[in-house]
Amino acid sequence: MFSRLGSAFRQNARAYSTSAKAELSSNTKKAISSVVGITGLTLGYIVYQDSQTGKAMTAAEHGLQAPEYEWSHKGMFDSFDHASIRRGFQVYREVCSACHSLDRISWRNLVGVSHTASEAKAMAAEFEYDDEPDDQGNPRKRPGKLTDPIPGPYANEQAARAANGGALPPDLSLIIKARHGGCDYVFSLLTGYPEEPPAGVQLAPGANYNPYFPGGSIAMARVLFDDLVEYEDGTPASTSQEAKDVVTFLNWCSEPEHDERKKMGVKALLIVGSLYLLAVWTKKFKWTPIKHRKIVFNPPKPPKRR
């Protein structure tokens, strides 16, 4: 557009220089200036109208900022609390798994992390999985093995939505990585259901109020209550304890490499750190004679003339 305008101006200028086309060129000039004027006025009006209203997200739409908690695995050199992972799996199994799947975790993943091989085998065997068809081609079922993924509560997304009033319970395998605020957010969400929503909040039927959920209206109701599960290690099962354990478990699901990663980090820091010191020493070693040398120029005495 601008290039076209520019060429029009150039033609205009050329028209000025030749007196024969003077009348035509003034008409063109008028047309161009009126187009420019109308465009400018329209744009100005639009910008002005737009500046009259502002649209910002309200605090409720952002959701309440989750506070930072002192997770036992938070620090640079901290590993997961595996007793907590084990308790968290119990919470997932007894509470969360009623609606949420855990597709990316297999029974074998639990072995050596929170459960022993025989415990994991026993849990897997409680579920039925599709087996190869028999000789007549009829489908068969078999008890689960360690290599099977942990089964979800619903056959597919439609079934999940139909059972939850249109809302899809997200898969929890990567939920800690998938939400801003990670552990802190999920913990706050689980423990943050107030007794009743603040006055004046309008909720759709079937929706619940949670300040941490952006918008405040969440399909999931409060699920964790005091003494909902009974821990095998005798830990008092308060709501916050259950939430902490299940979030630790979910964080492990999201980052199963977490412990190994931090261990590698320490080793890498040590090795790279010592290599850095070695590099500094080598540089000094090599450069010392060069930096400390003294270059002296003794001009030869001019030969005496006789």
Binding site: A83, G112, T116, P198, G200, V201, P211, E230, S238
Partner: protein
């Protein structure tokens, strides 16, 4: 020392201890699990009786404590005032037709932020 051991382990092939050390232990564990399950079943009947002398959730206790601090007292007051104001407005027969309906989300958020700031650092020392 463990660091040096780590380095040695990193170089040498390591062992994973996924299996139980002994068969006997497993049997004991199974018995324990069985007991726990039985107890659970029994407890379900008595739950109502036990509810009264249960320990309070440390998070709830801390939040309550924090609401009483001087810093949060102002937020509590504002939230209560807002709740009263909105409840009063809701009683108005014309409420449904009003253009602007106030809610107390912002006051609630301020209160929660104050309470969280006070309770969050302390909570995990009360949990296992």
């Amino acid at each position: 020392m463990s660091l040096i051991r780590d380095f040695i382990e990193a170089m040498a092939p390591s062992h994973a201890y996924a299996e139980e050390a002994e068969e006997e232990e497993e049997a004991v564990e199974d018995v324990k699990e069985g007991d726990a399950e039985e107890e659970e079943e029994e407890d379900e009947d008595d739950d109502d009786d036990e509810d009264e002398d249960e320990a309070v959730d440390p998070l709830d206790a801390l939040k309550e404590e924090c609401q009483k601090t001087a810093e949060c007292a102002k937020s509590v007051k504002e939230f209560q005032a807002c709740t009263e104001r909105v409840t009063k407005a809701e009683e108005d027969p014309e409420y449904a037709n009003k253009d602007y309906k106030e809610d107390c989300v912002e006051e609630f958020f301020h209160l929660q932020q104050c309470v969280n700031k006070c309770a969050a650092p302390k909570l995990f020392s009360h949990l296992k």
